[in-house]
Subunit: 438 residues, 4 copies
């Protein structure tokens, strides 16, 4: 795997930051340009990995360099936000602007409107100038000050946009697709020998980016999801054989459902994309649900949107001649399956289905995320001035690191069903380890 | 109209409350049994109403009587909660128990499980004993400690339940249907000459009970709805031609949508059941929505679930041969209509639809509702000991009053489109007065 | 008492509002200029008051008039905020600006900085132009966009400021002192025959303005106070003989302490300015507190800052030779008295004292207050265009009315110890009716 | 340094947990008893540390063992909470009870009342039985279900308490002092050869325990502190030369002040115990504050309670003949110094001082802390069954580890003024690197 980031060239200029290079003088220190953070910290894994210590894998440590690649006085910066909303986007924008303006002295920062589309020839005039006073209070709102859109744009058009305006620092806040788009920008810049740093701040509310402790917005999403689960519990508890069913975000990774179920303290079943489960049969989900109702009188279920997708194929292949996938929504599907199961059994129950959808992603960042976003913004700027490009910043084992975009997008973080995080969920909820017939 | 409440008979016993009958001694006073509150306070209306002052309409004022109808030492009380959840149900239960236990000295209070069904012969054993320690912290939760269900039970079965246990005070927390059920209990009690007070605490999250300033839970519902509208605004604002569409509660009365739209500060259109509107045409909703997008780039719409029900008939009669009403959900219907309207116009837009549903009703009561619930519980107990029956309690023009159930259920409170409350909505949102083609 | 407001003169111009004068056409109606709301609604009081119906007291009903006193196209408006912070100040400012701009078409609205001082010759240049985009999001913050200060300014200087800029509508948001200041402005305007409407929006977090259902910010203050009381309960409950003591706002009226104590559900003693109480003696507060600790192991006390002021004199006159009032802070004084009382008794206890101070008043308005502030802003503008001056707006028995400033400042609203509101507090807390030795 | 924990002896019994020992079977795995986590992950430090890989420092990894030291069927467990309140104490209690009851099958769990004192002979009878239903909802409250107290008890008395009741698992939730007390219990147990596991869950709201990523409650404390800082900003912003001064927790470590100042986005100065600063002089704090007022018109200051303690000595030695330390409270001291400084300069300013004190520590845990507490409770139980004693559990670089109490109490975590965390604070606030005259 490729752990080192592309570099634009030498660190030619002295940093405008008045930091120290000596530990112990009570002045914050510059970070050595070759500082590194070990990737693995499990001893057993390390012993296998490292026959020789030098072969250990590491990330580049992020932070301010004593010497920097760009002359801040002669360049412009730009910020773009892409994809769906996520708590904290405004916090990152704010931090980038504050850092660029106050600490590196960038005189003009462009805010590109509505994602990559805002760099098209047609929309180029819509960009706005970002100053500290423009962004001063935006961390108190959800959404994105700049607006967002989905979909790529030709790297040629985008680099034209940058080059015409002498934008040498581009900060892209977005998910997998955005980072891939940013990589094409980076390649086009290299092709043209246009000396620009393309730095990403990875955005995924599902927290499914590998090699990053957590993605911004995830803490807020879990908090909001936990509130919704409390509502589902109130509904379930308030009816005879009451069932509260909540659909949460999580296409490939069920982390929001998993963590919020621990926090809730009231969830009995957590269905995530990583976990194969049967509906029917003695060890199927429905039998376990029935058991829960019989013994406790109510139940709360959290289901991630990507869970149980294999169920649809089976259902359709056996019941639908045309072969079309009829059910696309696991939440509504479960609602229907549970209801008809108990109807057939002659057991009266009351199911309340909650799909909080956009409520979770459009909320302002909580304190944890706000702080993390602020730090991410600061480190993204440090990374760009350190001449890294095609790079994302994130925290790894409590340190901030720089990771190649190619690595960050190479695989997704998913729940390890054998690991301690999932065990915590099982123990907090009492859910069976397997709901699958053999 | 019938403003006076049924009375069980004389006020035979001295109140155990150590209150005063003299104003000015700094000890809270008993309320005269014939104290009354004027219904109307608009001078113009009053002048028409009252050719002679004695003909003015009034409510009976609620509060502790110096002499009471029941001997607290020899009777039992019971509490039942029916219908859908509403913020504050637990707060009312808690207040009733505290008041009955600490102030009137009722030694046993039964909590009936899962609504009127809990009084059936089959379920009668499920009732629980309510004490101060059982209810001490329940005001911090949403839902109902006792559980709820819908649907009536034979008054004979219910009065059997009461009579066997010597329950002379029954407090029913519920909506229209519950109050009608309580009226049948009351009639059956009278028929049997079973001396019991049946007192209701009206529950309607929609705030659509006439002759009551506001119903409990409404303030909380508006608060939660306002949060959701802020989410819709973040979504709308974050996209080119972004539209945030939120469906809120309100079958007959759009008060939640109306009030939360004022609070939000970001809503542009509020569609309520009281307001007839066209979708199409020059002065239709869709044309106004298009104008908003063209001038401001985004829009937020709040729609009450009972709004625009006349639209379905028209649609179906023209497009569906079978004559079935296909669209039952105004939220999903609007989502579809808006999307297809702009598609036809070739205008690209991004619509985000939010249906918060149970999230709003299962939340704990906010401070306003908590206080009001506490007072309602206290006054319901006062009313029962004052020998009133078939009565609900509520606040009217800042005073607590007792109102006959028959009156409280006779008509619904709806938004007066000619009145100042709706004007406040129109002025806060900028919505046109009429969206109807002539 | 003087219930009618001063009028500037005729209603010369047609209103720019497109409202209706016919009930039942589903278009919001203008309000008749002589519409009135009855002050009293208690039947017993009314019967005494009114031997003849015409003698009943009433307020002028607020709302839009079909004809107005000013030509909106030729005048300016200004807004000033004075005194201490209160939740909702920004909401009122926002509503005034939106109403003036969008509905009455005022082209320039000045925001005066830092209270009346901002109208002085020295500071006159600091005023800012208020537009919808300036105020769009300010309702999400606490504080005052305009800033505030205390203290008056010469009416001559202030009217000079208005007259030079052709400011014919002045909206003053402030408390008693501010309203008195506004009255001097009004008198000076009348003296000069300067045709300007001076309208107040009464601000008192203590809710102690008479003749108004409630003042804005009060609901939020009660909510925040309730949160603090929950903290005090956690502290008290977590220690043997734990005592949680919270000092809340309320110089003359203990309404914040009273209402938040009901909401909390955990308060045992509420000490307010209206309630005389002894510390010592068999029926003194300390003996009751000791009893509470002995029977329940912990206690929570809410004390309003103006409570027990008579205690200081007594204490000092007996213990301090110099005659100086040594204790000015009832919170700290109680803390000391309670601690030394139990020390003397040899009873170990743990007292935690919380003074939330500015936390409560600098918080953003909650939903209830936000809506009320929005309506107050709308009605203040209606009042000014109706040619009323020296007027405040407020709600009375669920209607919006206009009240002369002289009446609004003539007396304070205090808790009626004989009334039902205080009874609700006593019953919710279990506090003795009197803690006074005879 | 001593990284390995004491072990009680062999892992004699099979675990009742139905986990797997094979990776990849989608069943959560037992953790090898010798699994370890590397302490350091900075490459430069590692290279110095490790001439040979085997010498690297590591922690023992926490988690369920396939074989355990105790037979769950024959022992009892107990829980004790000591010291000041901290958000999350109830969450830890709840998780311990749930884990012991449902997963390890402990039949009786004692809750010791009011700290170590509850194990004294006098108080021994006050302990309560903890079951899942007792703790079911306690995570929604602040405080401690069990109550707390300060101060130690003789280890002999405490081990007598344990031995008489066959309590073999003692979970102590508390700070430094508590862990030292637990160490004396552990030693006394070893002395008597009483086979009991003493496991600590370190509690410090200041987050100042070394070798742990974060302590529970810290996230909540930062969140509440951030709210208070927003209040201070509203106050400061609302007055000419307004100053908001907030005192926050942090006796030795200013982490709450530091992190909440980042989150707030409005703080200009953060004074922490780690940072020496002068008040006077050209480069002193007061000169910088004056500069801020002159350029921006308002300022917000966060001060940790342990900051600037050296100032008192100096002040007193120069101004107070008796040599007594007169000022103990840096918040009040700063308030006075700032006020008199600007008075002397003839600059009018308005300072609002907020001391939120107990509000921050008595609040319920937020979602982050709730999850962490749940995991801590689970791992504490795993640790005890793994036969570790004199051990605390915590997270280290995203893994849960077991750390000897002696190590955990050996040093405090403080802010590294040369490190990246403090740099983030300086960059977010704009505070000078040094406020010290040379």
């Amino acid at each position: 795997m490729k752990w080192l980031n592309d570099r634009l060239g030498g660190l030619t200029f002295p940093s405008p930051l008045k930091l120290s290079s000596h530990r112990g003088d009570q002045i914050a220190d510059f970070v050595d340009d070759d500082a590194r953070i070990l990737v693995e910290n499990d001893w057993n894994v390390l012993q296998k990995q490292a026959k020789e210590p030098v072969e250990l894998e590491f990330f580049e440590k992020s932070g301010p360099r004593a010497r920097i690649h760009f002359d801040p006085g002669s360049i412009r910066a730009a910020i773009v936000t892409c994809g769906g909303l996520c708590p904290g986007v405004n916090d990152v924008i704010r931090s980038l602007v504050m850092q660029l303006h106050y600490h590196y002295g960038i005189s003009e920062i462009l805010g590109i409107r509505y994602g990559f589309q805002g760099m098209s020839i047609r929309e180029a005039g819509t960009a706005i100038i970002l100053t500290p006073s423009v962004v001063e209070t935006i961390h108190t709102y959800g959404g994105s000050l700049l607006g967002s859109s989905r979909g790529p744009l030709s790297p040629i058009e985008m680099v034209d946009f940058l080059q015409r305006r002498n934008i040498r620092l581009l900060f892209a806040i977005g998910g997998d697709g955005t980072l891939r788009g940013a990589m094409t920008i980076n390649e086009e810049c290299r092709k043209r020998a246009f000396d620009a740093a393309i730095v990403g701040i990875p955005k995924t509310i599902d927290n499914d980016i590998a090699f990053i402790d957590r993605s911004f917005g995830f803490s807020t999403a879990v908090e909001k999801a936990t509130e919704v689960l409390a509502c589902a519990h109130a509904e379930a508890h308030g009816a005879q054989n009451g069932i509260g069913l909540v659909k949460l975000m999580g296409r490939n990774s069920g982390l929001i459902a998993a963590r919020s179920s621990i926090a809730s303290g009231y969830v009995n079943f957590v269905l995530v994309p990583e976990l194969p489960f049967d509906l029917d049969g003695d060890n199927g989900f429905l039998a376990h649900l029935q058991h829960r109702l019989e013994t406790r009188g109510h139940a709360v279920i959290a289901v991630a949107e990507g869970a149980g997708q294999d169920l649809f194929v089976t259902t359709n292949s056996t019941t639908d001649a045309s072969g079309n996938v009829r059910f696309e929504d696991i939440g509504l599907y479960l609602k229907q399956q549970i209801t008809s199961y108990f109807e057939k059994k002659g057991i009266s129950c009351t199911l309340k289905y909650i799909d909080p959808s956009y409520i979770i992603r459009s909320t302002p960042a909580n304190t944890e995320d706000n702080i993390y976003c602020t730090e991410l913004g600061q480190h993204a700027v440090h990374a760009a001035f350190a001449g890294r490009t095609g790079t994302v910043v994130g925290s790894w084992h409590q340190e901030f690191v720089m990771i190649p975009m190619s690595l960050a997008t190479a695989q997704r973080k998913v729940i390890d069903l054998d690991g301690h995080e999932w065990l915590a969920v099982l123990q907090a909820t009492g859910q069976p380890h397997l709901m699958k017939n053999t």
